[in-house]
């Protein structure tokens, strides 16, 4: 029966056709390669070679001016003893672990609200997406202004309900929560993706759930969430990777000229950037980049394993 599945190929593979077919295949391959060529060139120069070279650099001491000096695993040993590595990893983990679930839950709430909106939804969609169109540098500036301790809008609003707000932008423990709140402000694209997923849930499922007497909360938990779990998983992974590499807003707001020691906002990507381009420790920075790569691989791997149990794909008959 298996042969029936590919009659066309068997027919064309009869003996007289073969040279013609081979010529066609060769032409086909040549045309395909011409189209793909830009990527092959680009990936060789800007991805493959950099990966290899960065691996080599991570074993050297290199300051751009003098030739790289091979020092074996010293950079990796230094990673283990560098307190700022530990600090920046802690800051990054703190930020990502709190931000990603908050982003997903907040976006889901907004997407469900949008899904209920009628004709006015395009206005609200635009409103929610607006912060994503703002340059992250400007978001960093907004953060400094809105979260300012004395005159900032946030503390003024907190004052209305009788809360004496902290000094978000200078008080160490409050810097990351402020950044997380700012991160929640830019959930627009996550909202739109979730909205698209919500719209693809088959209506029959809601109808039958209603017939079975499920209330709104039960329908949400038993129909909506499982049906969009694939999209949620995708967003969790993408947002986690983005969170681990967060740079611009924190760098803008907390690393001004001459202030290179704002420890509460020292994220891994910022420290890596400083090592590479401010202190010119290219070798050490390369080792840092590899550590980040390994961490991202491990976290993504774990997320995949966990998702196997939690994510439901349509047509998945296991």
């Amino acid at each position: 029966m298996a042969t029936l599945a590919r009659p066309a190929r068997d027919a064309s593979a009869t003996v007289p056709m073969r040279p013609e077919l081979r010529r066609r295949q060769r032409r086909n391959l040549r045309a395909a390669l011409l189209f793909i060529l830009p990527w092959i060139i680009g990936a060789s120069i800007f991805t493959v070679w950099p990966i290899l070279y960065s691996g080599y650099l991570s074993l050297t001491d290199y300051d751009v001016i003098n030739a790289p000096e091979f020092i074996g695993l010293d950079n990796y040993r230094r990673l283990l003893s560098d307190e700022k590595i530990a600090l920046s990893l802690f800051n990054t983990a703190y930020y990502t672990v709190l931000l990603v679930p908050a982003q997903i839950l907040f976006s889901l709430a907004l997407a469900m609200l949008l899904n209920e909106a009628g004709r006015s939804s395009s206005f609200f969609r635009t409103a929610f997406y607006l912060p994503n169109m703002t340059p992250p540098v400007a978001v960093g500036i907004l953060l400094l202004l809105l979260f300012n301790g004395q005159q900032g809008l946030i503390n003024m609003a907190l004052g209305w309900v009788g809360i004496d707000g902290p000094n978000w932008t200078t008080d160490g423990p409050w810097i990351k929560p402020g950044l997380i709140l700012m991160g929640l402000w830019s959930v627009g694209s996550t909202v739109i993706i979730l909205l698209a997923a919500l719209r693809n849930v088959p209506a029959e499922l809601y109808d039958s759930a209603k017939v079975d007497g499920a209330n709104w909360w039960q329908r949400t938990m038993k129909v909506t969430v499982p049906m969009i779990s694939g999209t949620i998983f995708f967003l969790v992974i993408v947002n986690t990777i983005a969170g681990l590499q967060t740079f611009t807003e924190a760098y803008t707001a907390f690393f001004g000229a001459g202030t290179y020691s704002n420890e509460a906002a020292l994220f891994y990507a910022i420290y890596l950037f400083q090592q590479a381009f401010e202190f010119l420790n290219m070798g050490y920075a390369s080792a840092m980049a590899w550590l980040l790569f390994v961490i991202i691989m491990i976290i993504t791997g774990i997320q995949f394993l966990v998702s196997k149990r939690l994510v439901f794909y349509e047509g998945d008959d296991k």
Binding site: A32, I36, L113, G118, S122, L130, I192, G256, F273
Partner: protein, 313 residues
């Protein structure tokens, strides 16, 4: 999610995207549309209230920023929406303090070149991967997907060294030229669209004598207009807002792009001791407006594009 990118943009996504996106792209059985007529009044009011409250939350900072840009120095932080003293002075001063026109021009050059080159090259590559069938195609495409996983940080230093050895550090070239070779994320996105086109169309064109390039440029690309527009806008946005690459590659204030320039203004006027926040605020408004205008112009394409591709920008 512009990642730590050097020379162009590398968007870090994940092969997991494939599964999720495939699920998105399957035609829905019957789209779920809530039945609004049966809803009780309190529920309607609650939904409306929620939407309005959240949109105020999202829009308010912009209004606050715009209003602050019209306030004189000591009043920037007074949190009033309508300035006590209305002044254009900040807008005049910011042009005197910073070569804003040059920054905008630099940014436009970089963003247009970056967006156009990445779109053209990614579309070509995506076409190569979707139309032709050849040995090793899926393996090679697997490599494309794998490069999306790589954090920009790993390639950042060597790519800098490449541009350095070519004498391009300090120029705008490293900010866009790598885009001439396509980008994995857009290749993936466009390939999804190309795969959705009916093959019979291309066979018909071939019978009519169209060559490979004609089939690609005259038939496939026009049919994928939404995806092409989304790619253009995504890259335009990524490039317009990118800070890290300009921090790495640009040296003189004359070559700065807007984010790099804003950062310089913030260092000079915000942190620099004299706390002229009104300058920074006004520059933020000026640099945000073009993106907002672009978004309003392209909103339909944009939101539709994201909705149909289910892709994050």
């Amino acid at each position: 999610m512009t990642s730590a990118s050097t020379g162009g943009t590398s968007i870090t996504a994940n092969p997991a995207a494939e599964a999720a996106l495939k699920a998105e792209l399957q035609p829905p059985i019957r789209k779920f549309r809530p039945d609004r007529s049966k809803r009780s009044l309190p529920v309607k009011i609650a939904i409306g209230f929620g939407l309005v409250a959240f949109s105020v939350l999202f829009i308010y900072p912009f209004i606050w920023l715009i209003s602050a840009s019209f306030k004189p120095r000591g009043e920037v932080f007074d949190n009033k929406l309508i300035p006590d003293t209305f002044t254009w002075e900040n807008y005049i001063r910011v042009w005197q303090e910073a070569p804003l026109a040059l920054w905008i021009l630099n940014t436009l050059i970089v963003t247009v070149l970056a967006a156009v080159s990445v779109t053209v090259s990614s579309a070509m590559v995506a076409w190569g991967f979707s139309y032709f069938r050849f040995k090793g195609r899926s393996a090679l495409f697997g490599v494309v997907l794998a490069t999306m996983m790589l954090p920009g940080a790993v390639t950042m230093v060597p790519v800098f060294l490449i541009w350095n050895s070519l004498g391009q550090v300090g120029t705008l070239t490293p900010l866009w030229a790598a885009n001439l070779f396509g980008s994995a994320f857009y290749i993936f996105l466009l390939r999804q669209f190309f795969l959705g086109l009916p093959r019979s169309l291309f066979e018909a064109a071939r019978v009519d004598g169209a060559n490979n390039w004609a089939i690609f440029s005259k038939i496939a690309v026009p049919l994928c207009k939404p995806a092409i527009i989304v790619t253009l806008i995504f890259e335009f946005q990524a490039s317009w807002t990118n800070l890290m690459a300009p921090l790495i590659y640009l040296r003189d204030s004359e070559t700065f792009t807007i984010p790099r320039g804003l950062k310089a203004l913030l260092d000079q006027f915000g942190f620099g001791g004299n706390l002229n926040w009104e300058i920074v605020v006004t520059a933020s408004v000026i640099t945000t407006l073009p993106m907002i205008i672009l978004f309003f112009v392209a909103q339909r394409h944009f939101v539709e594009g994201i909705a149909t591709t289910g892709v994050k920008g």
